[in-house]
């Protein structure tokens, strides 16, 4: 299956490990990510004010690219746009919903980018977890080479995957898609409190302390509930939960670190791919020890 894929800035920089593990593990399932040519910034963080149309331009331009891909037969009749980063997913999806529900706004955007093809609202933004769910998580189970049955994993949803309701890929208060994913990969999902608590997002830039406190709370909750590691789908969450553990340790010397992985890294591990596609060099807290103990015995 060939599907238009939107990487976004993080997957080419701080989250290369997210991209490489996703693409290589998808191949195992017969999914081919076709990177959208000339993609641009998703517009990061959805513009919320009612009169700010300008910031929805960036998403719409990306949708036009997907239409072009269909025209030039890079993909066969596939108007779904696949995202990995939850922030991109959220921003793109919200913009798409907004212009779909407001034809006049879409018209002004179309008029403004008069040199581009018209956007007709036909693209659908989806997250990789949704695609996996649609194909059937059980397909993954068949491909598992390294059993994860001893691994207790805390699935961290954060905000962007499940809120607001119109955008979320699952229930906003009781999501379970991530847990289903984990079970299908033979891992043991742990029940914990902080799975949908905000990591502090971009406040990590100017309110580092706040984010460090939040991370401390989230990581501790995972530990206390018996998790060996945490998985996430967002490069910003990953930074706040993984890299910020350095700062957590400065503040709380007795803190016990916990690895934070992208869910696709866990797929690559379970599918028995070679280490290059794990991309652990970009993980701040290395998962090697716990994996050695619980997976690669």
């Amino acid at each position: 299956m060939k599907i238009p894929y939107f990487p976004g800035c993080s997957l080419k920089t701080s989250a290369k490990n997210f991209e490489i593990s996703a693409i290589s593990s998808a191949k195992v399932l017969g999914i081919d990510f076709v990177e959208i040519p000339r993609w641009n910034c998703c517009g990061v963080v959805s513009s919320l004010s009612s009169d700010d149309l300008m910031h929805h331009l960036a998403p719409v331009r990306n949708f036009v690219r997907v239409l072009e891909m269909n025209k030039t037969k890079m993909v066969e009749n596939e108007k779904r746009m696949l995202t990995l980063c939850s922030m991109c997913y959220n921003t793109l999806k919200r913009s798409n919903q907004r212009v779909k529900n407001n034809p006049e706004e879409l018209e002004s955007i179309n008029n403004f980018m008069y040199r581009e093809e018209e956007y007709d609202g036909s693209v659908e933004v989806i997250h990789y977890l949704q695609l996996l769910d649609e194909i059937g998580f059980s397909q993954m189970t068949e491909k598992v080479k390294n059993s994860l049955e001893n691994l207790n994993v805390a699935a961290y949803y954060g905000c962007m995957l499940i809120r607001p309701k119109e955008v979320g890929i699952d229930d906003a208060e009781e999501p379970e898609i991530f847990e289903k994913f984990l079970s299908a990969l033979t891992a043991k999902p742990v029940a914990w409190n902080a799975k949908k608590r905000c990591c502090g997002s971009y406040l990590t830039v100017n309110n580092k302390d706040v984010v460090v406190d939040l991370a401390y709370g989230i990581l501790n909750d995972a530990r206390k509930n018996g998790a060996d590691l945490i998985v996430t789908a967002c490069p910003l969450c990953a930074f706040n939960l993984d890299n910020r553990q350095k700062n957590v340790l400065e503040k709380h010397p007795d803190f016990k670190t916990i690895p934070v992985l992208y869910f696709t890294q866990l797929m690559a591990i379970a599918f028995g791919l070679d280490e290059k596609s794990f991309g652990f060099e970009l993980n701040y807290i290395k998962p090697n020890d716990v994996l050695k103990e619980k997976v690669f015995k």
Partner: protein, 134 residues
């Protein structure tokens, strides 16, 4: 903060403006406090999210001096819980816009050590700039 609440044309106008910018029927808020109870940043805020709503309801412009709207990270925890279906994150955005549109920024990257900025992922910096600067 001033002790007296003054209701006049200016306060009505302020409320109208925020309603327009946010697209939210702010007068619907019944001050149940659900938003504040679950807000991950409430401890850092000088006024709680529900208090912010109250101040806007009454058109009190001193709300613009509060930190609360700058700390709201649009996590939408309150959005999905508000019994009145209000999206507080949009109200916070409306308030930020009022300030930002006067070309007053809430973030200056020069104030932070270079090494720290370098550590940050691109997504964090762009998001912060988008939200906190004009």
């Amino acid at each position: 903060m001033p002790k007296k609440i003054v209701i006049n044309d200016a306060s009505e106008e302020f409320l109208r403006k925020i309603i327009e910018l946010s697209g939210e029927v702010i007068t619907l808020c019944d001050q149940c406090g659900t938003c504040s109870g679950g807000c991950p940043f409430v401890e850092e805020m000088d006024i709680t999210p529900s208090q912010l709503m109250r101040k806007v309801q009454l058109g009190q412009q001193d709300v613009l001096e509060s930190k609360t709207m700058w700390l709201c990270a649009t996590c939408n925890t309150c959005t999905v819980r508000c019994p009145r279906g209000l999206d507080l994150s949009k109200v916070a955005e409306g308030l930020r816009q009022v300030v930002l549109r006067q070309a007053i920024d809430n973030l200056d990257l020069n104030n932070y050590p270079k090494e720290e900025i370098k550590e940050l992922p691109q997504i964090a910096i762009i998001a912060a700039i988008r939200k906190l600067t004009s």
